[in-house]
Every structure is written in C-alpha cells, then in structure tokens.
Symmetry: C2
Subunit: 445 residues, 2 copies
C-alpha cells in the first residue's frame, strides 16, 4: 500500500514522518504511517480509495501551525500534506473574489493580490495555509472588522469520504439557496470532507492606517476601555489586549522595549479622514477610562514593529527551551470580558507559573498561555487547572471554549458541556457523512 502511494505521490521519508507527527501545541506527537503530497483533486480521491481499502485514517496537514493537535494522526494512517496544492486557481478582482488550492499560505496569497489593491485580511498570526484556516474557522487580530474564516469563504470544493466531489457555494456574495454546507464544512477540522479548493472574498486595502497603543494600571481597566470603544460603534481594524507579563516576555524574546504594563494595541483604517477620526475618538475614550498614555506609531516601521511583536507573542512563550505550554482560547460575550480577563490573570498569578493573558478583546476572544515543566507533575496539574477553569467559566457566562483555535484534542472534553443535546446532532452528521470514521478520527468528538 505504501509502495502504491509512493508511486502515486512521490517520495516520503523519516524526516517527513516526524514533521507530520506534531503541531505547535504540547500534545504528544504521533507519527503517521505515511505522508502523501497530492497534486490535485484526483490524487485526493485516490488517497481516499487506498485508505478505504486498507482501512486507514486520512488526516489533512497544512503547515502544522495549529494550536490544539488537529493535524496529529493520533490513530496513525495517511497524513495528507497540501504543499503541492498551493496555486491560485482564479483571481477575479472585479468580483473581489479569489479561488485557491488549500495549500497556499496567507502571506503568499496576499503577496499575489496586494499588487492589485486587494487583500485577504484574516490574520491568525502564523503564516498558516488557507486550508488549515478553513479547517479551524481561524480568525485573529482583524476579525473584529472582517469576521472569521466562515464569514470570508464563499464556496469550497470538497472531496467527501465516499469520494464524491461537492461544491458548497457560489461566487455570489450571498445566497438563500439550499442548506448552508459551506458554513458547516468551515470549522469541521477535516472530519467531514477534504477541501480541494477555496473561494474567498477579498477586500480593498484601506488608503490610510493609524497604529497606536496605550497602557493601564490593571487588566480590568484595559478590558473596560476596550468594551467602551466597541460599544461606541467605532470600526477598529485591530484592538488587542496584551497584559504586563506578555509584554515583558515579548520584550525579552524579541529585543523590543515596549513599556511593561497592561496595554491595548490599536489599528484604525479607512480613508485618511475616517481613520484619523476613529483614532481621535478612541484616544478620548481610553483616556477617560484610565489609560496612562496614548502612543501613536509615527512611522510605518514603528507600526510594523508593534504588530510584529504582537504576532511573536504566542511564540515568545511557546519556544522556551525545555518547557511546555498550555493555551486557552475562549470567547465570551463582550460584557463578560473584563471579569474573565481578571479571573484568568489571577489564576496565573496564584499558580506561580509564567504566563500571559492577551488576545482579540474586541471579539471577547482571549488567550491564557501558561508555561510549565512537563516533568514536574505539580506544574503540569497547575497549568491544566488554569485552562480548565477558564474554559468552564467561559461556557458558564454564555461563551465558547474556543473562539478561533478549534476543538482538536484539547477542547473535546468541553463539547458536551458547551453544546448539550446539539452534540448528538453534530455526531449524527459526522456519522452520516463519514460512516467509517475515516477522516481525521478522534478530533472534536
């Protein structure tokens, strides 16, 4: 069988098998039986056919930048790497749409279309593949303006478990025709079908942007100021909370010198007049709500440094040699954000572990990242406890246990609590569309 896949899809070796055993999370690596590199949809159909005849799981793999184990082949099987399916299939600038293969990375896509005055704005930080972003319904810093992947995907071409190829939408901006398979497949983490093409909405590049940051004495003040900005109706492009310990960590890891205090990072975008007006109104609001300052980036390079630092944040905690990381990714109703952030920060402080609270405060979506020594059972338990309590409290206040990372392995245990009876409906859909549990088994449920 492996020989057959080799002939079909090219070489693979021990290094590849290791690379496909893990992602950016601390979940235990598991090596696949084989890694394949399909070049087109027909290759995917062949892989599914071989998998069926050999009763093997099939696990899609983008770039391995996932944060909850989605691409780890926990039941072994065939890891399907999309790096050879990374083309732009068609670019329709007049329609503000593009159709791509799932292996294309978001920076590669933007590089190709930015020349035409257009952008694909969803920005999860990592240079993830579009397919991976579809799988987890990724979002990131710009979701407060543009929404998540589900809001940006117009249509998918998907190979279903039985080898049927379906198209889930059209290139029209909206539709009331038939069931919304499009939204069902986005965020299904490779468990319902294998995506082979993605049609995305594109957006104009705003003419003018303003970047600014401000600091506060407490995370509560940060969150309350952010909430007020949001309720005022100002259309921020980005609004990020970064707590004191996170700033310290990113300064240390990246050689920055941001003031080590609880901060909000902002970006405003539009015409010059509207972006400047939004920035001025926001400045007023945050100063009224306890901001100690308002520092505006004066040059593009200052602005770039700020957003680079924000992107490095997660990595600055995740790449401490010899240490493991446990990361929460909850999303709560806006009114609950201040309390939740204070709660998460207090849990980290009590534990004595290194960790930070930061995230997309404009969506009510934040991350609680804790660094621990996995050979120390006390530290391991403390880290797990923090994320467990944060996830449960998020659900309890009317939110969700994952705002953008997806369920993967780490959030399975909260699915029943969060979804109740709806979980049975989800499971029945999984069973309907993948009766042999061939596609990314052991994830979500």
């Amino acid at each position: 069988m492996i020989q057959k896949l080799r002939v079909l899809l090219g070489e693979e070796n021990a290094v590849q098998v290791y690379r496909h055993s893990r992602d950016e999370s601390s979940h235990l690596p598991v090596e696949p039986d084989v890694v394949v590199f399909p070049k087109n949809k027909d290759d995917i159909i062949s892989v599914l056919d071989i998998a069926k005849r050999n009763n093997l799981p099939v696990i899609p793999f983008g770039t391995g930048s996932g944060l909850d184990g989605h691409a780890i082949p926990i039941h072994k099987g065939i890891s399907v790497n999309f790096e050879r399916m990374n083309r732009i299939v068609s670019f329709n600038s007049e329609d503000l749409t593009v159709t791509v293969q799932p292996g294309i990375k978001r920076k590669q896509l933007n590089k190709a279309i930015n020349l035409h005055g257009l952008q694909f704005p969803v920005d999860p930080g990592a240079d993830a593949s579009i397919g991976g972003m579809v799988a987890t319904n990724a979002s990131g810093t710009t979701a407060v303006r543009y929404g998540s992947m589900r809001d940006q995907v117009l249509s998918l071409e998907v190979v279903m478990a039985d080898g049927t190829v379906v198209t889930t939408g059209s290139r029209a901006k909206k539709s009331s025709s038939g069931y919304n398979l499009n939204g069902l497949l986005v965020g299904s983490e490779g468990t319902l079908g294998i995506v082979t093409e993605v049609t995305l909405k594109l957006h104009g590049i705003p003419e003018h942007t303003v970047t600014a940051r401000c600091t506060f004495g407490t995370p509560k003040e940060c969150a309350e100021a952010a909430q007020t900005v949001l309720m005022s109706g100002i259309q921020v492009l980005r609004m990020e909370l970064v707590d004191e310990d996170s700033i310290r960590q990113v300064n240390l890891a990246g050689g920055h010198s941001f003031p080590e205090a609880h901060s909000l990072f902002f970006e405003f975008a539009g015409t010059k007049a509207s972006a400047e007006e939004d920035a001025a109104l926001t400045r007023e609001i945050v100063l009224e709500h306890g901001a100690e300052n308002w520092e505006r980036a004066n040059t593009t390079s200052e602005s770039n440094e700020l957003w680079r630092a924000r992107h490095e944040l997660s990595y600055s905690f995740r790449h401490i040699p010899g240490m493991s990381q446990s990361g929460g990714d909850v999303c709560v109703p806006i009114s609950q954000v201040a309390e939740m952030v204070v709660f998460a920060r207090a849990l980290i402080d009590e534990s004595g572990l290194l960790g930070g609270v930061f995230g997309h405060i404009g969506d009510g979506n934040f991350h609680t990242l804790v660094v621990y020594d996995s050979s120390d059972s006390r530290q391991t338990a403390a880290a797990e406890r923090i994320n467990d309590l944060v996830a449960r409290k998020a659900i309890d206040v009317g939110g969700t246990c994952t705002g953008e990372h997806g369920v993967g392995l780490g959030k399975m245990k909260y699915q029943e609590l969060e979804h109740g009876a709806a979980l049975s409906v989800m499971k029945s859909i999984k069973k309907l569309l993948d009766p042999d549990n061939r596609l990314n088994p052991g994830k979500i449920f």
Copy 2:
C-alpha cells in the same frame, strides 16, 4: 386530534385557515388542516408529538410575507403561527445582543431597542417576523453593510423533529467549537427543526446618515457605476438599483414624483465626517460614470419618502387587482451584475409584459418582477420564461438562483443545476434530522 390541539392552543376558525393557506407569492393557496398558536417551546413539543401520532406535516408560519410559498402547507397538516411567541426574552445592551421569540416582528424589535441607541439592521422591506427571516436567511437593503440573517444570528433554540431541544450557538461573537449547526439551521426554511428562540447581534445606530439618488440613461450605466462604487471600498449602507419602469410603477401606486429614469438610491451612515466623505466620493464616481444628476435628500422626511417608496416597490407591482406576479431573486458575482440586469430588462421588454428590475445591487442581488394575467396562458408562459432564463443565467455565471427569498416552491427546480452533487448531501441531512419528512415537507427538495 383537532379537538386536542384546540384545547391545547386555543381557538381557530375558517378565516385563520384561509390566512394560513398563502403568502405574498402567486403560488396556489392550500389550506392547512388546522392552525395552532403556541405560547412556548413546550407547546411546540406537544404539537410535534400530536403531529407524529397523527402523521401530519408541521409548517411554521411567521407573518405570511414570504415570496416563494415557504409557509404554504402544500401537503396540509398543522400550520404553526408564532404570533403569541413574540417576546424579547433578554436584551443585553452591553453585549450588543438580544434574544427573542421567533414571532416578534422586526419593527417591534427595533422600537424596543432603538431607545437604547441600538438597532437590528436587517431590513427585507416587509415587516417580517424574525423567525421567518431566520428561515429564509433574509437580507434586504442593508445587507451590503451588515450581511444577511446568517451573519447576524449568534444562536438558535430549536425543537428538532424528534422533540429534542438543541441550542446551536452561544452569545460569544465567534466560535470554533463543534460543527456550525447555527448556520445550517438559518435558511433551512423550517425543514430541519422549529426555531423557538433567536439570539441576534445588535449594532449601534449611526450618528449621521446621508440619502441621495441619481439617474442614468441605461440600466447598464447604473450597474457599472454601482460596481465601481463597491470596488472603491466605500462602505455604503444602502445602494439600490431601481429601473425606469419600477420608478413609474411606484410613482403611480404611491403618489410619488421621482424622475422616471433608471436610478440608484444611496444611503451613507457613520460619523458626520465619514458619512459626508463617503457621499462626496460616491457622487464623484457616479458622475464620472454617466449619472445625469445627484439629488440629496435635504430633510429627514425626504429621506424617509425615498426609502418608503423603495419598500413599496415590490408591493406596487404585487397588488395590481386581478393580476399575478412572478418574481426572480438571483444573486451573481459583482462583475456580472451589469450584464445580468441588461439581460433581465431586455427579456421583460421583449415580452411586452409590465415588469421591473430592481434590487440590492451592491450584493449583486436583484429582482425581476413581472406582472401577468394568470388566465392568459401566453402571458403566464412568458412570465415563467423570463424568470426561468434569469435564474439559469445567474447560476451559469457563477451565482445563485435566490439571494434572499429562499427556495420555497419556486426555486426547487434549480437546486440540482445549482448544487450538483451537494444536493444529495443536503437531502441526506434532511433525511437524518427529519426521517419522517414531517417538517415543512415539499419545500427546497
């Protein structure tokens, strides 16, 4: 059985049975066996139980303002009217969310929340119920800014065919937790479950609005100007195309005196500076693209008259005594709009029938409404031919046969053409969740 429903749910009579036999479309009326007026979710569960034991269909009914026969009980059975389930369950202004029962109408909802500076902006014209708007994934004039219902629904409480009650989301703004049942249920036209509560996003009321209109010599120029405005990235709140014959009809029916020429109606909203800037930029663009004028509404009452006329437009064609109407509702990629509008207008002109082309041009969504005498077989065939050709061409150019009205009865025949193999997946989900085909049978498929 009917006696049992009467005891449970109150009186019903011949007038009610007639009212529930039809909607705003020209589809043939069919009377239900009985109409019920549930007061709460338990009543719905009882209705489903009685329906199961008597093998009767169950058809949800909002206000009867649907445009493609969704609420017509074509296989008879129990029509479930939601007018007694019209409460606001909880209003969370700090979260920008509200939870309502499905029978509440959109104007009633807005009346209650506008006082708090918030609005629910989706506006299909008719004063539809929120439940009906969920069922069809309704949108309307403001979708170009706010999207369709699916973009606004955070969570649903749904009684499934087997009587299980599920909740499809949370009050968080985004989620990557589990399958997106929320988006699947929105737009499912009462065929997968009966919605008993809807949690919606709310939005601030913009501080300033500008309304304007302009005329063009041809529909092509109208559509091209609209396309250019859209590509410029200006965030219009409303951008409507209304062709010459439609203006004539609405002037006649409503006593208005708008210039009888192909027109674009605009609304801009935001802070004073941003709305005025958007209006000024748009004015420049349309004048460069052949607009003959730019008339700004100078008073609130002028602005209100314009939007009232736009809302009356469909009714002005639909309520001509003794005549029937056949309405298309396609949505196409933006680059195809100009060609499609010209195509639709030419078909009406060739037919010699009265009709108009108008719609939400910023979404690529427009309506082709034709008036005919249903006792005249030539006219009937001509009207059907126009909408058939428009629907097929919309699908052919990469669009959809319905942008906002839903499939109902009229668009069933295009589902295979539009969805191909995906239609089997949709049918299998219907069979999974409603194995007895109890819920609104004969719709969509």
